[in-house]
């Protein structure tokens, strides 16, 4: 199908440089009508830059763009929109203070004049009903009031919404990172349906299974250029990983924890149905369940009560920008901030000890950066996340809370960090690890599944497995349908 369809948008020799840094070097990209392309690669491989160039959000430094066989000279966000190109960006691009309908108006210029609100509501409702049947999202309240999963659904549906502007191509950048399994399946189904109707899609994701499920072609990027371009026939996960330069790790053998250390955390639930959490030294406890079912709130209350008691606890945020990074500071300052107490005497800091501590953990985590004194925000997302891990691990904390820290992190980095968590647990630290990626939970000794604000099911040993977790997330009956 891919070969036969006429071209939609293509680029030849696209380059983009920021000063001396080449974010994209001489990249060719072909996208046919109705074609679904999976775009994968490590963080910093140039995927976002390629997308920004294709959508006209940033101006290319060189190369040509062709739309429907016609070369393009002026290309910007407005022109791209007129051409029917839509984009779901990684960071949500909804206005939090507006309703779903009002956000639709922001995208569609034609929604103005009398009755615009009714037309906007109709447009977004029909898009939501098509992509996510049975979504149940209220359209008349500000999106900030909605859980993140629903916000992401609105954002996706908005990209597929139609007024007098056609939809011809949709670029989805990590669209499923905040979606539950059900919504993810609905989205992938819709992508296939849209492709049959002639709407082309680019799907950027770290979840290779999703790519393999829907893509016609898979494009792998590395170091600012296209490394390989596969037709998705008989393609396997390990082939993709190999082309990205990562080897799929052997699955960890699940063994029941034989000996338990001292109890480090004991946290009662909010009522009798909410499981009491007891965390022992050397243990990794997973939090699972659909996103937004109370896992984050529980993590935070555990953190806050432990801090209030003076316990040694650290927190690794998944939402880096909002809850993790100090944007004006270097790697060093960011890394040592949780350890200031150990580095100080009577409230005064010692500079040399700080450097030493930062260097140890910088090396241990293999942060890819010129040195510990460069600004943290100049690093790629995955490397920033490593520094946040280092902040927690370098501290004296016996208990470390991980709040879905791997969101949007590439496969290679993940494997390195998994091994590190394991090693630290063996040295007697304890982890509470919330993850929206079910495979990740297989690194845990025990997993608590949350439903409707409570921790309801405890899984141990061999029970920690994709289907059981899904089943428990929905309550046992529903799980069977999905599995």
């Amino acid at each position: 199908m891919a070969g036969a369809a006429p071209a939609f948008l293509s680029g030849d020799g696209l380059t983009k440089s920021y000063g001396a840094v080449k974010a994209l070097s001489a990249t060719d990209f072909r996208w046919a009508r109705g074609e679904v392309i999976g775009l994968i690669g490590h963080n910093g491989a140039g995927k976002s830059t390629l997308i920004n160039v294709l959508t006209g959000t940033v101006e290319r430094s060189g190369g040509t763009l062709t739309l429907d066989g016609m070369p393009l000279s002026r290309w910007n966000a407005v022109a791209a929109q007129k051409a029917g190109l839509r984009c779901v960006f990684q960071e949500l691009s909804l206005c939090p203070n507006l309703t779903a309908a009002e956000n639709t108006r922001v995208l569609h210029r034609s929604l103005q004049g009398w009755g615009w609100h009714a037309r906007a509501t109709a447009a977004i409702r029909s898009a939501l009903d098509t992509v996510f049947p049975g979504h149940g999202i209220p359209l008349d309240i500000a999106v900030a009031e909605l859980p993140i999963g629903q916000r992401q659904m609105i954002e996706i549906a908005r990209a597929f919404s139609e007024t007098d502007m056609p939809v011809r191509g949709v670029i989805l950048d990590e669209p499923t990172s905040s979606l539950g399994p059900e919504a993810t399946r609905q989205l992938l189904d819709h992508v296939e349906r849209a492709a049959q109707a002639g709407i082309a899609c680019v799907l950027i994701t770290h979840r290779l299974n999703e790519v393999l499920a829907v893509a016609d072609r898979v494009v792998v990027m590395k170091d600012g250029a296209v490394a390989s371009d596969f037709v998705n026939e008989g393609l396997t996960r390990s082939a993709l990983l190999a082309s990205m330069g990562t080897v799929e790790p052997a699955k960890r053998v699940q063994g029941a924890l034989t000996s338990r250390g001292a109890e480090l955390v004991r946290h009662d639930g909010k009522d009798a149905e909410d499981t009491v959490i007891s965390l022992h030294a050397g243990e990794i406890l997973g939090f699972a369940g659909l996103d937004g079912h109370g896992q984050r709130e529980r993590l935070r209350t555990i953190f806050d009560t432990s801090v209030a008691k003076g316990a040694a606890i650290a927190f690794v945020a998944g939402d880096r920008v909002v809850e993790g990074v100090f944007p004006l500071w270097s790697i060093r300052e960011n890394l040592i901030h949780r350890s200031l107490k150990q580095l100080s005497k009577a409230g005064f800091l010692s500079g040399g000890q700080g450097d030493a501590l930062a260097r140890i953990w910088f090396d241990k985590l293999g942060v890819r950066a010129p040195g510990i004194h460069v600004p943290l925000v100049s690093l790629s997302g995955g490397n920033q996340q490593k520094v946040l891990f280092a902040r927690a691990l370098a501290s004296d904390a016996a208990v470390i809370i991980l709040d879905d820290p791997m969101r949007g992190v590439d496969v290679g980095t993940k494997q390195e960090v998994y091994a590190l968590i394991r090693a630290e647990a063996e040295r007697g630290r304890a982890f509470i690890w919330y993850s929206t990626e079910i495979e990740e939970l297989e690194n845990c000794d025990r997993v608590l599944v949350f439903r409707e604000g409570r921790a309801v099911t405890l899984l141990e040993g061999t029970e920690i497995e994709h289907n059981t977790i899904i089943a428990a997330s929905f309550g046992t009956g529903k799980g069977a349908i999905h599995a």
């Binding site: 809850e323 100090f326 200031l340």
Partner: protein
């Protein structure tokens, strides 16, 4: 671009030097010494107020203490009254002023924290209340300082002015506190990203409370020094310090968005402000023109300062 090589926080010093040069050209080189003496003394008082304001501004976007002028005035009245009643015990007066400042800082922070008000509103409402207290305490009358206080604020050892020198030492202490104490680092962390600071184990509330308390205390101290230097506490003595404290902090290289502070740069901006006033006086500029020039300069300086690339 020459400007890119000169750190922006030093602009105040260069501008101040330029002003001094112009004054020297206009009124003769002999006038530079006395002009600088006065500018250092008044500049020091501005710096005192500005340093406290700097801590508050650095503690996060939107943090601003608008109660500075009324705290300054109230503390001046209280300390003059105490010194008067105790027959000129300066330490008692200073202690009373510092207590007023500390209480004001606590009240400001309490309103922000417990009534969840934006700092601008909370400190504004308190400033109304402090102003009423000052009004009822002293009324329109000027309360005279004891002779010893006036002597101290004007004290010189050879050509060294003791009062500005003391305040310079305080600026150095403030700069060191920001760079090398746990509280200073925590303050800057809180200012950059409050939630990240919380999850990195910083107790955000107390850290900010200390910033507001310091701000109240420096404003109060400035009230005492100003009374001593100018011969008394008067009802409108603090008025100019509201806008000035904010302007010199920003021109001195502290980020209004929080998380970054420069205690030394305040000096340059404060000297520049005071010397510009002197220069306009020499040229007998009319009050309106002075305001206009002052405003244009503030806007221009902020506009030409190169700022870090935001990602």
């Amino acid at each position: 671009m020459m400007l890119r090589r000169i750190p922006p926080w030093t602009y105040g010093f260069w501008a101040a030097a330029l002003m001094l040069g112009v004054i020297g050209l206009q009124s003769g080189l002999g006038s530079i010494g006395p002009t600088l003496t006065v500018a250092l003394a008044f500049g020091a008082i501005s710096v005192l107020v500005g340093t406290g304001q700097m801590f508050v501004i650095a503690s996060g976007p939107g943090n601003l203490d608008l109660s500075v002028p009324s705290v300054l005035t109230l503390a001046a009245y209280v300390s003059m009254t105490v010194m008067d009643r105790t027959g000129g015990v300066i330490s008692a007066g200073i202690a009373a002023a510092l207590a007023v400042g500390a209480v004001a800082g606590c009240l400001n922070y309490a309103a922000i924290r417990f009534l969840r008000l934006p700092p601008i509103i909370a400190t504004l409402a308190w400033s109304f209340i402090f102003q009423s207290f000052a009004f009822n305490l002293g009324g329109q009358a000027t309360l005279k300082p004891p002779q010893a206080l006036s002597d101290f604020t004007n004290w010189r050892l050879g050509w060294v002015q003791v009062m500005p020198l003391t305040i310079m030492t305080l600026s150095v202490v403030a700069a060191l506190a920001l760079a090398f104490t746990v509280w200073g680092r925590n303050l800057l962390a809180t200012g950059q990203n409050e939630r990240a600071a919380h999850f990195a184990g910083v107790r955000v509330g107390p850290v900010r409370l200390v910033a507001y308390v310091i701000c109240g205390m420096t404003a109060a101290m400035a009230g005492v020094v100003l009374s001593g230097f100018t011969g008394g506490a008067a009802l409108n003595m603090g008025n100019t310090y509201l806008m000035e404290s904010i302007a010199i902090v920003a021109l001195g290289g502290t980020s209004v968005a929080g998380g970054q502070a420069n205690a030394i740069g305040i000096w340059g901006a404060a000297l520049f402000f005071n010397l510009m006033g002197t220069m306009l006086n020499i040229f007998q500029a009319d009050a309106g023109l002075r305001f206009v020039l002052m405003g244009i300069l503030i806007v221009l300086i902020v506009a030409i300062v190169p700022r870090p690339e935001a990602r």
